[in-house]
Subunit: 178 residues, 2 copies
């Protein structure tokens, strides 16, 4: 059975939506998703990047992120034909371990603990596919990377791109080689 | 640069020493390491296996385990010639995430967060070597497994065995193929 590794933030968990809303509220701004095309919030407001990054050091920031549309249904379907591993760079935010674990247990109850990986460097992952929004993770992965569209990666052209979970489904459930 | 994945419990962290001491104290017993040859504490006292297993559900159980002799020095030496990843099945005890992370930061300060992996199933790991006390992890690993001697695995004969960190050093620092 082939194996798919799937990132969390911006792929199954809507990181930037919550982050942007918190920022807009606290700093009385009205930035939109479009303002983040090709960049990150902390890059377009460099003078307060420290405050912007501090949001995600809150140990419960990751606990109530919205689920990305379609991810639950499609991953459930995929899990019947593939081994699924959720692989998140949790070591960047050690305080987030428990929140991320509880979020996964709540929203993906059909996956078991053995399907979760919290790591730093994703090049340690052995899988056939990696679905990730980060070009740097795709770059170091041995296997077929699928770049999941997020505002910050919109101009990236080096990797096979999937814009949403329906595209993932179409691509991977039609893969005749597995 | 070749890559070595290294387990935590019974390989760099002395799990059974603390576990056995707690058990002996609480149940007024005098079991020794030799009593655990080829088995586990919860198997030789099956009528109280639930209580015995409950020790490790304490969120701080893993925070003050003793460091296995030689592991710090040898891993430091190895880290000059190999990429080192500490790979622990932390998903078996989700409450242990923070204690395990803090333990690693305290005792292996020369490793960075990117070198840590908390997972369930170690077959997800892509590395050249896996040093682990669990035959089941070695069995599923693609690469060269090295079974690190622990009381429970003493009768296992299927895998290349290392009895201590000096043997690891001798084996891996003499590997001319890297």
């Amino acid at each position: 059975m082939k194996r798919i590794a799937i990132d969390m933030d911006e792929v199954i968990a809507d990181f930037h939506f919550k982050h942007l809303n918190l920022y807009n509220k606290d700093f009385s701004e009205t930035l939109t998703k479009e303002d983040l095309y090709g960049t990150r919030l902390w890059n377009i407001r460099p003078h307060i990047s420290k405050e912007i990054l501090a949001y995600v050091d809150d140990s419960i920031f990751f606990r109530d992120l919205a689920v990305i549309d379609g991810s639950q249904e499609v991953i459930k379907d995929l899990s019947e034909q593939y081994e699924i591993f959720i692989v998140t760079a949790a070591m960047e935010h050690p305080s987030s371990f428990t929140a991320k674990y509880e979020w996964l247990k709540e929203h993906f109850p059909f996956l078991t603990d053995r399907n979760f990986v919290f790591c730093g460097d994703k090049s340690i992952i052995r899988a056939d596919y990696l679905i990730d929004d980060s070009p740097k993770n795709i770059e170091r992965f041995i296997g077929q990377g699928l770049l999941f569209t997020a505002p910050h990666n919109i101009h990236e052209t080096r990797y096979l791109r999937v814009n949403n979970w329906q595209e993932v489904k179409k691509l991977l459930l039609n893969d005749k080689s597995k």
